[in-house]
């Protein structure tokens, strides 16, 4: 009996060993929608190159995804092999030291720098020169507007974009003729203005030494514009991504929206599909160029299959056909320059009434400056937004509110 047992055991062990020799390795990828859809679409391509590597994709809503990644990085357990990080979080994740530095060997990500739109690489590079993520997609800022509402009010596209003052004047005409608001929230104008005229290497809220600069004239003018927008009754006081915002698009009560180019995809799929053909896209007013969003793929420092992760990331980001495919399927504007040269860009966009919007966006992307990121950007943004609320809702004086925000930020950053 003992003898038979040991024979059985040995056979079983040999069987397992044989099986594992042929078993596929699994690569775990954690993303947020709609990147999961995109990865599933390109998996067959990947399988051709690496038939023995399975890719397991997990996706959570964008906020939950970053919370989950924070928790995973905190404990070092349950980390994915590749994680998608949105631009708003990359600063924080990078500062924590939880992401692999891709500038070093064997990755040498710096060699790809010239192949991408230049500001995206800067976004993923820390002050010490560590590259913590490869750019996957970008969000060139654009102005979407309802052509039919503009026509009714007798306003042209040039009126909208000539200057901020002409933008607001156009908004008044639109309000009078159609009753529609110019924009969803006065905060949008403030957010764009403070990013609009930055020079290369400047930060939005902080200077190079890390001191907050929210009392500078740039912020004062931004607040003045926002206050004027509210006083003229041009904003719908709606927060983006809320149900009311979606309703505003469906019912045509919001006539323009400044956001990343990817909003076009959202508008056509779920926000307001019935308004097809009524929207157009153009550059931001007053020659402003800004970036909205953007995704990076990173490798956690404690991941176990880093070489394989790097292969997958290169597959997703440096291959022109994959980048183009993701643009076509999920509207993710490619960060790779060679992908932007495709004929696809010259094709008319049917949702935007046949406008060749992608060419406009490609051109806008090339003008966006590299902005210095800080770990405290989100803290500063919150302080500035509350100051703005006090000014437009509570009639507080602009300079007092900005000084309070400045003190707040200084207080927090000192930690």
């Amino acid at each position: 009996m003992k003898y038979r047992f040991s024979v059985l055991a040995t056979t079983a062990l040999l069987g397992f060993a044989a099986a594992s020799a042929h078993a596929n390795t699994t690569l775990r990828v954690a993303v947020f929608p709609k990147l999961d859809q995109e990865i599933k679409d390109v998996l067959p391509e990947w399988k051709k190159l690496h038939p023995d590597v399975d890719v397991k994709v997990s996706a959570l809503a964008i906020g939950d995804h970053h919370n989950a990644m924070t928790t995973a990085l905190a404990t070092g357990s349950d980390l994915p092999d590749v994680m998608a990080v949105e631009v708003g979080f990359i600063g924080r994740f990078a500062a924590g030291g939880g992401l692999e530095n891709l500038a070093r060997a064997p990755y040498n990500a710096g060699q790809y720098k010239d192949q991408f739109i230049h500001y995206t690489f800067a976004q993923a590079t820390t002050e010490d020169g560590a590259i913590v993520g490869m750019p996957a997609d970008i969000g060139p800022g654009t102005l979407f507007y309802r052509k039919d509402l503009l026509d009714k009010a007798g306003v042209t596209e040039a009126d909208l974009t000539r200057s901020w003052d002409s933008y607001l004047a156009a908004g008044q005409k639109i309000k009078k003729a159609t009753g529609a608001y110019l924009l969803a929230s006065a905060r949008d104008i403030e957010d764009i203005y403070i990013r609009a005229d930055l020079k290369e290497g400047e930060g939005v809220y902080f200077d190079k030494k890390g001191n907050p600069v929210v009392t500078s004239p740039r912020f004062v003018k931004a607040f003045e514009l926002a206050k004027k927008t509210r006083e003229l009754g041009l904003d719908a006081k709606i927060t983006p991504w809320s149900n009311e915002w979606a309703e505003g698009f469906k019912r045509g009560t919001i006539s323009t929206q400044m956001m990343g180019a990817w909003l076009g995809g959202h508008l056509s799929s779920w926000l307001a599909p019935d308004t097809k053909g009524l929207w157009r896209a153009t550059n931001l007013p007053n020659g402003a160029y800004a970036s909205f969003g953007g995704t990076f793929y990173s490798i956690p420092a404690k991941a176990t299959q880093k070489a394989l992760s790097w292969e997958f990331i290169k597959f997703l980001t440096t291959r022109q056909d994959i980048q183009l495919d993701s643009f076509q399927s999920i509207d993710a504007f490619p960060a790779l320059l060679s992908a932007q040269k495709s004929d696809f860009f010259a094709q008319p966009v049917s949702f935007l009434g046949g406008e060749k919007a992608r060419v406009i966006w490609r051109d806008a992307a090339s003008h966006i400056p590299s902005i210095q990121r800080s770990k405290y950007d989100q803290v500063a943004e919150e302080a500035v937004h509350s100051a703005l609320d006090k000014v437009v809702d509570g009639n507080e004086d602009i300079h007092t509110a900005l000084q309070e925000a400045q003190d707040d930020i200084t207080h927090r950053v000192r930690r």
Binding site: L73, A95, A236, I238, E244, T253, D393, H411
Partner: protein
Amino acid sequence: MSDLMSQSEASVLEPREALPFPAAGRRRLFADPRKVAPYFFIAPFFLLFAAFIAFPLLFSLFLSFQSWDATSGLSGMKWVGLSNFTFTLTDHWFWKSLYNTAYMAITSGVPQHLIALPLAFFLQTCFRRWRNFVVGLYFLPFITSSVAIALIFSSLYSTDFGMINLAISEIAKLPGLHWIQPDHHIDWLYNATTVKPSVSVVIFWRYVGWNTVLYLSALQTIPGELYEAAKIDGASGWQQFRLIVLPLLKPMIFLAVTLSIIGGLQLFEEPFILLPNEGMGTGQSGLTTAVYMYRTAFHDGDFGTASSIAWLLFVAITGLMWLNTRIFNRGGMKEAGK
């Protein structure tokens, strides 16, 4: 075998004749399974308690003395002593959130009890056959998911498309009521002045049924003879309520108020879902301390400060508990014990 069983154990476990015990000489090395078995039975609860309640509690206390950016991993913790606490105590957003929390706790909590108690008395005296059904209706909001409630209410409160503003417009069309109509639609959840009352209404609506059930169950312990004796003595309904019900209900009022204080100070779900920007609202007008703690941890990435907020909130709740006990316990519990 009989010397293994003591008299106390005989009633707990049935004796078994052929226990697979080792030889008598090695018996002392193995614990008696009948003595050890109870510990195995209660172990699941204690394991879960240790893992999900005790450990997070102690870790949070430990964290409040550290500076920790979670994404740097467990090794990234730095001891900073009381620095997190001094920062929080000098942070005017924290004090603002405490003010908001206290305001909403009071404006939602006080009406809950003022209405629940007479309502319970009313249900006790006037409903007999339908009582359970009516109580069930009042209890329904309590058992409904708070996320579902908050989503529905945020649609109701919507400025341009919500039913409440629509109803006001419609009512204002009735003759003589046109003065109700405000200049423009009220931004219930957006305007700093209307945010807190709007959220308080939702919380009140949700918990009034729970308090009614509590008071109703306490009312049912009052013997009917007291009411009859009072009626014979010529007491009116109001006097019966004031002189019989209230004093005898003091322990239950104490319990219900305690639960309201704790729940009110820990307000998170309703503000988080109803208010824009994940609970921040406009200019922190609806920010509660629990939401602020969540944002400090996950939005700003500062787990140490967030833990200090949690413990300072705990101190606040404990303080109010003590006050509550002093007010109610001076009479309440001792009287009921007589």
